[in-house]
Symmetry: C2
Subunit: 322 residues, 2 copies
């Protein structure tokens, strides 16, 4: 999950006067911002600073991230011509990511770097809606009403997601996460029919690289079983599903990542501690559990609470075999 | 679910120049707007035109519904003094609702009227956040961090919700729905500990009136089991949970309401028909199923599609025993 960001004064300082996507295209800023939470909190892994729409921007799509709004697309997609206008993935357009990852891996030493990409459904939803949406009505109407446009769009986006993940892994990322932020708004039927095959294509396309693949979406309790068949080693679980319930829905041998409610860090410390320990308790039935928030760090979070939380989790870790 | 609203030209006409909460306080408009979808679509029940924050406004709280935003509260609640300042329920402050319900019941004849109220958690979230929120961070921080303030607030709101439902039933409503719109953002643990007892208090307080009680929230798949124990005859289910899965989570003998994705009415008619029939198919394992959208009608919906959908469902209905 996102760990760098507005909760950190050092992040706000380096982002001053630099637009979000511009920051995601400068190797020096990618490295600096990725390192900030590692330095400050001592987390066990770095998360590449980027954005799920970055590869679309790098390929030349007319889009921007508008502060307080989110990604805004100049020409939303309604038909096949719009899909055809999306360029295929071209690794040379994201050289700055390769450069940043190479630099990060050198700086991080034994701390692993986790890369990520947006899943085709979530990217498609931005391209169709023209920006963030509460209900994704246009996306679902196109998905159901123009299945040939849908398939073409999802196939094009799957190629981009897979290409973007491959670049990160080949430059040295130790693991990757496929983010399907908005999949949780779909019924299980629609997810399996219209989305799963394309996410599976992304994850299948990087299987040969042999790094752990993580899959996550918010409010995906009903979809965990389906999502876990997409070709992944780790399933991210938001705070809505207790880990001891989630483990029964995913594939045998898969690890779980999560799932402290990101808002709970706004409560007094004794609450944070109690609830974090409750997550660890539920994780006893989930071998290989990776402690994390159930979603990204919220902007107003007190970073000192996060540092204290990392220390707490480290103090509870089971001894590793030598 | 909401069936009147901006999708109807006749609604936009009568609302012209009248603020939302003002419309909810005029018996003539409540009656007219409630009747509109009954006249147009021939639905099997009328849903009282109101808003979940209406009783708070009627009791004197300084709040308003801002178009494009939602309910906005002048002085968000942070401590016990704020809770103490919320008046207890007073039926004389909602005389206009009693008057409207009485008029509606006369006009509706054999068509039942369904009343509703907001559940304490959802009302509390508006009062604490000061308005709509994506993450309800302040609400959860207060819930965990100041449990005595939380309990006092929830108890006060439970009294208001129960009182508002009682007024509607005593004036002639045939059934009521308790809307916990935002409960789906809670973990099952937090829901059971901090919310369920108060929703159960609301529903228990009207048990003596003997009308069917419906309970609903969006994205509540993980909470259906808990919510179904609150004292209800019907559980509303959003489109994320197939009805044949939902029926295994609720109490034996409870009916299900739902659950066509409200956005699917934007797809071509053959899709609407196919998906509506798929809902009915899943409902075969859910005795007493009440067909409905999985959430309220979206403003951009074509009302003719809704009329056609109502006709389709009526054409599929099982013959009733005489």
């Amino acid at each position: 999950m996102r760990q760098a960001g507005r909760s950190l004064p050092e992040y706000r300082a380096v982002r001053e006067g630099v637009a979000m996507l511009d920051a995601c295209m400068r190797p020096d800023l990618i490295i600096e911002i990725t390192m900030q939470p590692v330095r400050r909190h001592g987390v066990d892994a770095a998360i590449l600073f980027s954005d799920i729409v970055l590869p679309l921007k790098a390929l030349g799509l007319d889009l921007d991230i508008v502060p307080g709004v989110g990604p805004v697309i100049a020409e939303p997609i309604t038909e096949l011509a719009g899909v055809d206008a999306i360029p295929a993935f071209d690794a040379t357009r994201v050289d700055f990511v390769s450069e940043a990852v190479t630099g990060l891996v050198a700086e991080l030493g034994s701390t692993p770097l986790i890369g990520f990409a947006g899943a085709p459904y979530t990217l498609a939803s931005y391209l169709i809606e023209g920006g963030p949406s509460k209900d994704h009505a246009k996306t679902k109407a196109l998905m159901h009403g123009a299945p040939e446009v849908w398939r073409a769009l999802m196939a094009r986006l799957a190629g981009i997601s897979a290409g973007f993940l491959r670049v990160q892994i080949e430059a040295g990322a130790s693991a990757v996460q496929l983010f399907d932020s908005w999949a949780g708004g779909l019924s299980p039927h629609d997810y399996r029919k219209f989305v799963l095959p394309h996410s599976a294509a992304v994850l299948g396309a990087i299987a040969d690289l042999g790094v752990p693949r993580i899959h996550f979406g918010v409010a995906t309790g009903e979809l965990l079983a389906a999502m876990s068949t997409a070709g992944v080693e780790v399933m991210g679980v938001d705070w809505r599903v207790p880990l001891d319930r989630a483990v029964e829905r995913v594939q045998p041998g898969q690890a779980l990542q999560g799932n402290l409610d990101s808002t709970l860090v706004f409560a007094p410390w004794d609450v944070v501690e109690r609830e974090a320990l409750r997550v660890l308790e539920a994780a006893r039935s989930a071998p290989g559990h990776i402690f994390n928030l159930g979603h990204g760090v919220l902007p107003g979070t007190d970073p000192d609470v996060l540092t204290r939380l990392v220390d707490l989790i480290h103090s509870q870790e089971m001894p590793r075999e030598g």
